[in-house]
């Protein structure tokens, strides 16, 4: 089953109505893909899973996000337990990930004991390395100092950095500091300048993976789900053949493909948030407790050198799978 673009007001290949419809599906198990300018939504398991299966990649890594250690309200009274389940899920993957990205909101209130619990829990991850970027919950009262001390050693500026793995270039960005009244997430001029320099000497054929907490695309600005100066950052990446942008913050999977760039957001390991505009605000959403594990999960990313884009598999804690194969 597929839905096609009917309205494309911004001439960006994205049908806003179709896209919102597609996003509304996300929580209930659907996959949204923009292919050749056509937005398709697939019911879970309909097409892709059997067809592509799990392919052992040249490089595979996992994204986890929004653990919110310290949160204890109705939407999930035990976020440490669901984080442990997410870790078990990663450890059960057929191919152990080369590394894990945590895309922010490690904690609920930036408290030392919350950071401790998070770090202690992640010690059981079967992987070589964990890379972090902060969420706004990790930098609440000290401009991110505690986060930086524990998880940002050796980074540039306010905590941004890049590294290379098997021919792919990874860029970790910080868009939760120095936010301006009325604005969205922000990278700031110093970081933008660094990005431009960081990629200046790379070959255009180098696959690029950018990760940051708040989406680097305009998901729903009314709820602050976007980054004011992300377009400038992405303009430095236009010449590259394959760019994948991985974000958290919105506690649900969404995907958009725009030219050479694939945007993807991950589920939280703690609690879900409503689809854009589907509630009075973007706060934690209470779902029946037997449904909670359908909407929490991890993202497994596979990179195959002969393919143009990265394959992305979102797995919920309860076992449902959404897969976007690399092209």
């Amino acid at each position: 089953m597929a839905k096609y673009i009917k309205e494309n007001l911004n001439e960006d290949g994205v049908d806003r109505r179709g896209f919102l419809e597609c996003m509304a599906w996300a929580g209930t198990g659907a996959l949204c893909v923009l292919q050749g300018g056509v937005l398709n939504s697939f019911a879970l398991g309909d097409v892709l899973r059997g067809k592509y299966g799990h392919v052992k990649g040249e490089l595979s890594f996992v994204q986890i996000s929004d653990s919110h250690i310290g949160f204890n309200k109705a939407a999930n009274p035990d976020v440490t337990a669901t984080l442990r389940e997410a870790i078990a899920k990663v450890n059960a993957l057929p191919t152990p990930p080369s590394f894990v990205l945590h895309t922010g909101d490690l904690t609920q209130l930036s408290k030392a004991e919350e950071f401790d619990t998070l770090a202690e829990s992640l010690k059981s991850l079967k992987t070589d390395q964990i890379y972090y970027v902060p969420g706004e919950h990790d930098v609440l009262n000290d401009n991110g100092e505690m986060f930086h001390e524990r998880f940002g050693k050796g980074t540039q500026g306010d905590g941004w950095y890049s590294f290379d793995q098997k021919g792919a270039h990874f860029i970790g960005l910080v868009n939760v500091l120095n936010l301006k009244a009325g604005g969205l997430g922000s990278l700031g001029p110093e970081q933008l300048e660094w990005i431009e320099k960081d990629v200046a000497n790379l070959k255009s054929s180098t696959p690029i993976v950018v990760f940051a907490h708040i989406p680097l695309w305009s998901v729903y600005p009314q709820w602050g789900w976007g980054t004011d100066d992300s377009e400038q950052a992405l303009s430095y990446l236009k010449r590259f053949g394959s760019v994948t942008v991985l974000n958290g913050h919105i506690h649900q999977t969404m995907q958009k493909v725009e030219g050479n760039i694939t945007f993807h957001t991950a589920m939280s390991t703690a609690f879900p948030q409503p689809a854009p505009g589907q509630a009075a605000g973007p706060g934690p959403m209470k779902v029946p407790s037997d449904k909670l594990r359908d909407v929490l999960g991890i993202t497994d990313v596979n990179f195959l050198p002969h393919r143009h884009t990265l394959g992305i598999i979102d797995s919920s804690l309860s076992g449902t799978v959404q897969e976007t194969p690399g092209e």
Partner: protein, 120 residues
């Protein structure tokens, strides 16, 4: 009918009749409360400040109470006049406005959340 209830009815009628002036009405109501008690409360709920704009007399103490499951802050746009720490659920922050002027503020965690206190 007591004097109080008559005044109440008049105020209610005015409020209902002036829907288009809702914002100003809220300001006036807040000012009245401020004058009487020297205190005004602003609720933080669903990622917004309610009321988003209040008008108070100099010397009024404004208190923000967070009713969300998410931490918020109350920070003046200049980031120096007043700046709360992160307020968890049911935590509050107060600031006493002594000088006249318009004080725009926002939540530094969710900067789309904005409000203003007018002191006059």
């Amino acid at each position: 009918m007591t004097m109080t209830s008559r005044i109440f009815r008049i105020v209610m009628a005015l409020a209902l009749g002036c829907v288009f002036l809702t914002g100003i009405q809220k300001g006036l109501a807040a000012r009245a409360a401020g004058d009487a008690a020297g205190k005004v409360e602003i609720t933080i709920d669903n990622f917004s400040f309610t009321p988003s704009s209040v008008t108070v007399a100099p010397g009024t103490t404004v208190t923000w109470i967070n009713k969300d499951d998410v931490p918020h802050t109350v920070v003046s746009d200049d980031k120096t006049t007043f700046r709360s720490k992160a307020l968890d659920t049911d935590e509050q922050f107060s600031y006493t406005f002594t000088k006249t002027g318009t004080y725009s503020y926002f939540c530094s965690v969710h900067p789309r959340m904005t409000g203003a206190v007018v002191v006059k």
